[in-house]
Amino acid sequence: MDRRQFLTAAVAGGAAASLVSPSAEAQVSPVQTSARIVIIGAGAGGTALANRLVRRLEGAQITLIDPRREHLYQPGLTLVAAGLKPGGYVVSDTAKWLPEGVTWLPERVVAVDAEAKTVSTESGETLGYDWLVVAPGLVLDHDAIEGFSLDMVGENGIGALYAGPEYAARTWAAASRFVEDGGTGLFTRPSTEMKCAGAPLKHTFLIDDIARRAGNAGRMNMVYAAPQATLFGVPIVAEKVRMLFEDRGVDTMMNRTLTGIDAGARRATFATGSGSEEVEYDYIHVVPPQRAPDFVRRSGLSWADRWTDQGWVECDMATLRHLRYPEVFALGDVAGVPKGKTAASVKWQVPVVEDHIVAGIEGREGTETYDGYTSCPMITRIGRAMLVEFDYHDNLVPSFPGMIAPLEELWISWLMKEVALKATYNAMLRGRA
């Protein structure tokens, strides 16, 4: 039953009857195998996949490699950077999410040899694999912004909420001073692909809303600066955001890429295409360029002709299977697909990778495909959001058509972000959603 049928059934009052049918998954008995499966990264994608694979396979050797002992619920960072949640809201133990029966190697992967089918770690250990899932997320290239370093966050009107819970909290410290004092706020985003492209917009909307609530709307000069020509990758959403910005009095500076800051002088430098431009600020939100971890490119897993500065894994956009190495899959932020650097995409990608690996082990072809589903509860003020969901084709694919209008600012969409998103994310990590 898909979501639409579910809703129709619920509305028709037939939900109770249809709800109790066991899921298809529960009826399938585990596949016997001795396959060695290595998953690089125990973030959203790697953890969810491991939890699902242990249920589908019996006897498989599943190894997750990730040096990070703390799991970060990244969608919560936006709320931390608006003072709505403490930093601890996004942090949990990696170990807590890992299922019995998988091996966790707390190390950093430094190379993959896809010809020899081995993975090497920082300590020099080498593991062979039959199936490899590359899910190390992405790297925030803060050094690409001249004059900026992470230790500046929280002081002198500098915010950078992507950098983690501590930095998100420090971002709020700087932003809250700004909403009290007023002035010019610069909200940026990078020219590269990025995770949750809505997050910089959300931060802009939230800080604007908080300033309004403090009665300081008149003293704020809010400016959203972006390297792109439009405010969002999906045209219909871009148009809606443009209207909301107009309504809130948020100015835009399009085709401007942040290249550097002078923290002392509170001046930002943007590349304009034909030259550079300096803009003074009282608060700046820095979102740095984002790239695949170095080992991905060094190991020859990246696209040769696309995103050459970013290094995303070359893979089929429907199956996430590597185009040159069929036993390798990309999952999550690192995947070189046109859309989908969100946890919501991960939720839809995991069953696809799972299906193709299990099918491969059984010696048949998998059937599941991913169509670029991404979603982003676009917060437009505290208490309201738009539930924007779309696919590779820039089509809106609302989960609740006719009930939750995708481009409408709604309380219910806010509730989803505040209450249901983390719960759904956690359920996904456990392989149950």
Partner: protein
Amino acid sequence: MQDLTFETLIAVFEEIFGRGLFWFMVAAAVLVTFGYFYVLIRDREVSWKKFLVAQLSMPVGAVLAVWFVMVMTDSRLADLGGPIDIILFLGIAVTGAIGMAILVYTLEALLGTKRTKGEADI
């Protein structure tokens, strides 16, 4: 899994409240409902006196439920933005009201005075 199944819903609710609290609440709701049916069967009728007090408690339940949701989610009444929000809001209020009424009725019948226990009616 792209399907929204019963298991997914349960999993999400367990995550929202914590496994223990969620099942405790389910158990409490089931207990109160059983208690309600128990007193209905025991007394063989709906006591309109008890029902009156229960009814009076309904607005309290409605307000409490709405207040709880608003506080927990940093929201205000002004955030209601469309028909679905109003429906959800009313749904929360109605759930709170009905829950409170059943709770009050059941407690009255189980713990109350002679009058509310339906023995003497003076």
